[in-house]
Symmetry: D3
């Protein structure tokens, strides 16, 4: 049994946010519904998520979703692999890329920049205590800026957070994700 | 070399926040300084941090700091072990407890509730994909509520995020932490 | 670059086999094409495969495909997850089940028999040297016969073989699998 | 208790096979006896085994047995280490080599070709999802052909199969192996 | 190349010790020769070794050798597996037991007392930080005294030391061990 | 409950040793008290310890203590991290260095010689079976002699022994260590 937490009544801003989800996606992502038992926590989560995944960055939105999936694959997170696998398929127009990142990112034919980005994200997920200057240097070498490295690190960190909340609470993805962009 | 990111000028609210840190701690924690290259990211991070660690919860502030240290020990995060190890020493008045959680939480003589809490946090950190209903049941059995389980999960998730940002960017703790509450 | 091995001319029996694949699937699975550089090896592989996956057994064909996917998930094998994930979707009529087994079989809501079956297959894949009598007893307890246990072990063993050949030779799944039974 | 499966009556071809074992080895290997509960499975297993270990190849029979032992050492398979350890001792005329491969192949003084071969087999056994083009390139560099790489991969895969069947069914080696070629 | 350290001239006591080895074993064990570059180190090592392995104890000499081999198997130490595998064969009069402990102690048919002893030794070798009161309780339950538990721990610790010195210095076992007690 | 072993009456030499501890440290280290149930074992342990940590060596006493802490960090040994962490703080005059080695030695800003020394010690602790000539060569390259390599190996081995005895017996460090040299 997943956690039994009752949703709080939405305030105006969050009602608008959920309405926009319904309008654009056809559903409210279950992660937002899960957080809605406490609007302050919902706001903190959504604030960080939107900043990381949607704000301007040297990483494209697709690249940030690629990191999300590669990290979630290490952690074998059912929720995040489903939701962000769909996002990679949609943003890339390449459904096979989405599957490869879910299964084993090494199987994807990536350009060196994106391969270096995912190598860093996966090492930081698996063995954070072994990340050192040489790992940052490998990112600089393929052209990433200082802020890009921050963004790669922060997106990697964020999915190490959300993978764990999803697993800990048995969060289930909306079934709509499955068929998207196949 | 850590990341070379220039701090942005602080807005009024963050200036007040940093001033309050100086007044209460005698220094601005380096993690806040690191995030200050982008105030939107600083706000998102501080917002989530303050909600998790300071808002009302069925977990005491000390218990939340204990999770922080046990998780950071798995990930061997120098920054977080230093800063939150000091917090455990200060909040518990037991400097040895702080050291035990840094080194191996199994060496601490904990009451069953806190031992179950840290067992869950450590498993969720090491093997999130293996966390299942039996793990939640073990928390309920020692008296944790549904929301408490959320909070344990969320604090565990958060330090899995911040450990990785600290390692990825070679963030260094303020030296003042070291001597606190010994 | 994958291995550069030239297909041998097919003999009559294998030509008929490949023709039947074309007729039933619309394509010849790349694993068969890969083996066709040496018809004796193709015959040995196909003989074992067909015996394990198609011959009468106390395990349904779906159950054997479920083992294939759970094992391939541990080994992160792109080829086998793609081809056998499609088979689970098709045989179960439950596309979500296929995805769950690819991502983390613990997320699927399985009846105890199938859960025990996959727990055994995954332990045998990850830590074969720790499989002992208690593990066999757990299978007997949910109703598996002696021969069923053999079959679970043999299917698990077989995908530990084919996952490694696929990874070692960079074998790529036919793109047709991806869209099947979604 | 190992699996309780009753041997089927042997057909003529398998009777001849078992007779030949008795004549040449003085015993029927227990793995064949174990498979004899189902002659179709016995044929499939023996067919693949004989093709891999005895058919013409760029790898000598000794080299194929060396892979068998190095793989079985990773998986700590009592049956296969015993039977194939004896084969390495016999084929090499070097009893110490057999022991080294059982214990830790890195302790053997191997020529670069054989060391590269075993490094590949061991990585493919331990971390198949991390095998990539660079690993194949290392084999080509010491002179292995495309088909040799296939053969190294296939022998490695095969013992990852048979190690698991032996462990899953508590298969015990014939005691005769122990004293052979010491 | 192993370490290039010149043996020191033996003092009288060590000359007598080495002479006794020659007389009883027909050779001086290479570990003693390796340590003889510094007689103080040789004395410290031999003193601890002889106390642990030969002094009166609730563990038989065979049991202490069984621990030596099970620990050395985890650490894959060529020197110690060879020398102490021979000792298990000789002391038990059961050459197969010696092989089983080298390969996978779980394959040996042990009485519960000895199985518990090796389970403890192997856990203490693989995951010392997870050994807790429940592990000691399991030893008490099969009849081990407080001092027996100390002795199991100390022998386990000692081979975790000597395995590492042997691996670090590429120490090679005397070839005579191989054929002993087969 | 730790082991219940009654201290033996001290002989003159050990009484003098314990008195000297009281005089110099203000307490008798609990490890010595633990061993005092059997003076022969105490003598063997203290003899090896004093030779390794105090006798002349190409490694400074601080360097030997640095190895002690880095090894104990891998093994998460509460006793040894506490006692030898204090020693690093005292001998280096740098309390932060002591903390860094407890938490993650990679976070310390070490000169190449000491970094190579700890890389070797940590690899030898985590994966002794993978230590080979290249690892010794890396030590020679930064200037370590043959005997220095022996000493690095022997100190690493020794703490792999004492970490395990401490964990196996639930040995607790004297509380005085905690506040020393902060």
């Amino acid at each position: 049994m997943a956690l039994d937490l009752k949703p709080a009544p939405l305030d105006e801003a969050n009602q608008a946010y959920f309405d926009k989800c319904m309008e654009k996606l056809g559903f409210v992502p279950n992660v937002l519904a899960a957080y809605s038992f406490d609007l302050a926590k919902l706001n903190a989560f959504a604030g960080m998520y939107n900043n990381l995944m949607l704000a301007p960055s040297g990483l494209s939105k697709l690249e940030r979703e690629m990191i999300a999936v590669a990290v979630s694959s290490v952690n074998r997170c059912y929720y995040c692999l489903t939701a962000h696998g769909a996002a990679v398929r949609a943003l890339s127009g390449d459904p096979i890329l989405g599957e490869q990142l879910v299964m084993n990112y090494r199987a994807a034919r990536l350009e060196p920049r994106q391969r270096a980005m995912l190598d860093f994200a996966v090492k930081l997920t698996e063995r954070p205590h072994e990340v050192e200057e040489a790992d940052r240097a490998a990112l600089r070498k393929v052209g990433f800026s200082e802020q890009d490295i921050w963004d790669i690190s922060a997106v990697t960190g964020f999915f190490n957070l959300s993978n764990r909340i999803a697993s800990a609470t048995d969060m289930r993805p909306n079934p709509e994700y499955h068929g998207q962009a196949r």
